[in-house]
Amino acid sequence: MLNKSSAGFKFGFQILAIVAALIFTTVVMLLAKAPPLEAFKLIFTGSVGSTGKISDVIVAWIPLLLATSGLLLTFAAGLWNIGIEGQITLGAIFTTWALRLLQDTSLSPTLIILIGFLAGILGGMIWASLTGLLKIYGGVNEIFGGLGLNFVATALTIWLIFGPWKRPGVGSMSGTVPFDNLLWLPQVEGLRMSWWSLGIGLIGIAIVYLILQGTYFGLRLKAVGKNGRAAFVIGIPTGKYMMSAFFICGAFAGLAGATQVLAVYHRLIPAISSGYGFLGLMVAMLINYQALWAAPVALFFAALNIGSIQLPIVLKLDSTLSGVLQGALVLFVLMMDGVRRRLTAKKVK
């Protein structure tokens, strides 16, 4: 008989959850009269089938990893930062703003790109601080404050694209006028990925890992998240720690938004956040908030997103299939974790 509290037992349940998610997704495809094997194969070749595809996956990985990194801190403080979508968007808006102001000046392009990144960070922090202030001083649950601010951020983007920043002539859903090549983050020859943004993403998650594992600040943040009242009683200013978590997460989200503008789209588009904020929440839940796993799991999710782009083209299926699979993975991992705990608890009794 297998020892029920062993790591192997836990691992077995996670495998079971993954199998369940795959079966669920297969059933969904059969319901839609789609060929499951072909679809899975298409997602696979569509994400790792060529150097270009792999580079596209990395392009999607960076903002997702940055979002997940920031969220690990708000989760550590016990906060549900659903407003991260809006924080990414505001980062992108601030970056675009900075670039528009500076593109015709005599400043060097490198300096303008650098200022663009800083502006993005600032934008994300400002937007995150609104949710934080509403939560800490207004008593508005961060889920609802954040959601509302997400919609406001989207409206702001659309207003800018169709209003003050519209293309010559008439504004369009394709976004603002693209920036000059000089203001693009340098890309790898012939590919869409950039070593610079890859570096930013990896340094980002490393910093979060260190904060959570090796600092006094991280330790106290986790205390606030585990039991806010107890933390407050032993003298930790919980409000300040929550606010810091929002600020840092906002900075990461803003950085993700800046990357979307500087390294991916080179302009502001209506859906500039690409849903990476919500996807980051899913990644964080799937890895049970352990920073060590953020990079590989975010990479896998990014690969699913990129791979599914082929679905509508080849099989006339909607590309949201990747979202179904991602959701099923998180749901079944959460549920299987519950089943395992139940079984273990029974044995102790």
């Binding site: 969904v28 008593g139 609802f144 899913m282 949201t320 099923a328 749901l331």
Partner: protein, 331 residues
């Protein structure tokens, strides 16, 4: 009041019907102590499934039945994960919100843009001929009449009946309710399923009546569920106040459309989201009375001003059921 305005206002009552169902469904669920965060995706999924069912079978009734069943089932997952598996309600609800949305777009793909059946208008004889009131309330379809009934029934049930008091009890003081003989967790299952079924009716109400058809991502329903959740808080977990919130929200959206021509510089997309910042503002107002720093600031003000502000804040303030989101263990 001219006829156009009257028809417009009647339209508000009609468009608010699904929001009323969703907000009251969530109110009942949360009264029992469970937060069902999945309802944004649930409305999309049931709108798609209800429409697809009705298009395929030609039966409107089956469309609504499927919607209610899906709503009940998805909500059961939330309750089961929370009660039996001890997982976070917020996490499971959020995942289901996203997954249901993606499922609706994926499975709804073949039904995009198809023309389908529509719930017919059903003027009530005699009542429909009353000036003003008749146009406003009694020339609607059966769904709108159901929404009036739901408001009344939910209110009476929660506040005036014995099971309703028990429902309040399991959300406020589950331990006491348990001692008095209530099977807390079983009741939580039941009310989550009932609340979910009501939310599940909201989807087909859109796709078979208010905004007929299924148009994928541009159906324009993404976000309604989040609003319904906010309205639940705004409504202070009171069905009557939640219904008021639903009407207020739809009225604001309608005003956005009406004001559009006189504000040509503002794109329509901006006016469509105008209710969202207002929603934050209202949440801020209903929560301010709960904040400690407000009490402290008020203490420094002259007596009369302080009393007035405190009175206003108290009138608006809402407090959630004490055990909302907290698992109950009967040991």
């Amino acid at each position: 009041m001219d006829n156009n305005t009257l028809v417009g206002l009647a339209g508000i009552l009609a468009s608010a019907a699904p929001v009323v169902f969703a907000a009251i469904g969530e109110t009942i669920t949360e009264r029992a102590g469970i937060t069902n965060l999945s309802i944004n995706g649930l409305i999309l999924l049931t709108a798609m499934a209800g429409f697809a069912t009705s298009v395929t079978t030609g039966s409107l009734l089956l469309g609504f039945l499927v919607g209610a069943l899906i709503g009940a089932f998805v909500s059961l997952i939330v309750a089961f994960s929370s009660i039996a598996l001890k997982q976070s309600q917020v996490a499971v609800g959020f995942v289901l919100a996203l997954m249901s949305r993606d499922l609706s777009y994926f499975l709804g793909n073949p039904y995009m843009g198809l023309s389908g059946p529509r719930v017919p208008s059903l003027p009530i004889p005699v009542l429909a001929d009353i000036p003003v009131v008749g146009v406003l309330f009694f020339r609607q379809d059966i769904l709108v009449y159901s929404s009036y009934i739901l408001i009344a029934v939910a209110y009476i049930f929660v506040f005036k009946t014995r099971p309703g008091l028990m429902l309040q009890g399991i959300g406020e003081q589950p331990a006491t309710a348990y001692v008095r003989g209530a099977n807390v967790n079983r009741l939580r299952y039941i009310y989550t399923i009932i609340g979910g079924a009501l939310v599940g009716l909201a989807g087909p109400m859109y796709s078979l009546s208010v905004k007929v058809g299924w148009k994928g991502t541009i159906t324009g329903l993404d976000g309604i569920g989040w609003i319904a959740l906010a309205i639940t808080i705004f409504g202070g977990w009171n069905p009557l106040r939640a219904a008021f919130g639903a009407y207020l929200f739809v009225l604001l959206q309608w005003l956005g459309l009406v004001l559009q021509p006189s504000l040509p510089n503002i794109p329509s997309q901006v006016l469509q989201v105008a209710p969202f910042p207002l929603m934050i503002l209202t949440l801020l107002l209903v929560n301010l009375g709960n904040s400690e720093w407000v009490d402290r600031t008020l203490a420094g003000l002259p007596e009369e001003v302080r009393r007035l502000i405190a009175k206003v804040l108290r009138a608006m303030r809402t407090t959630p059921p004490a055990a909302l989101g907290i698992p109950f263990e009967n040991e």
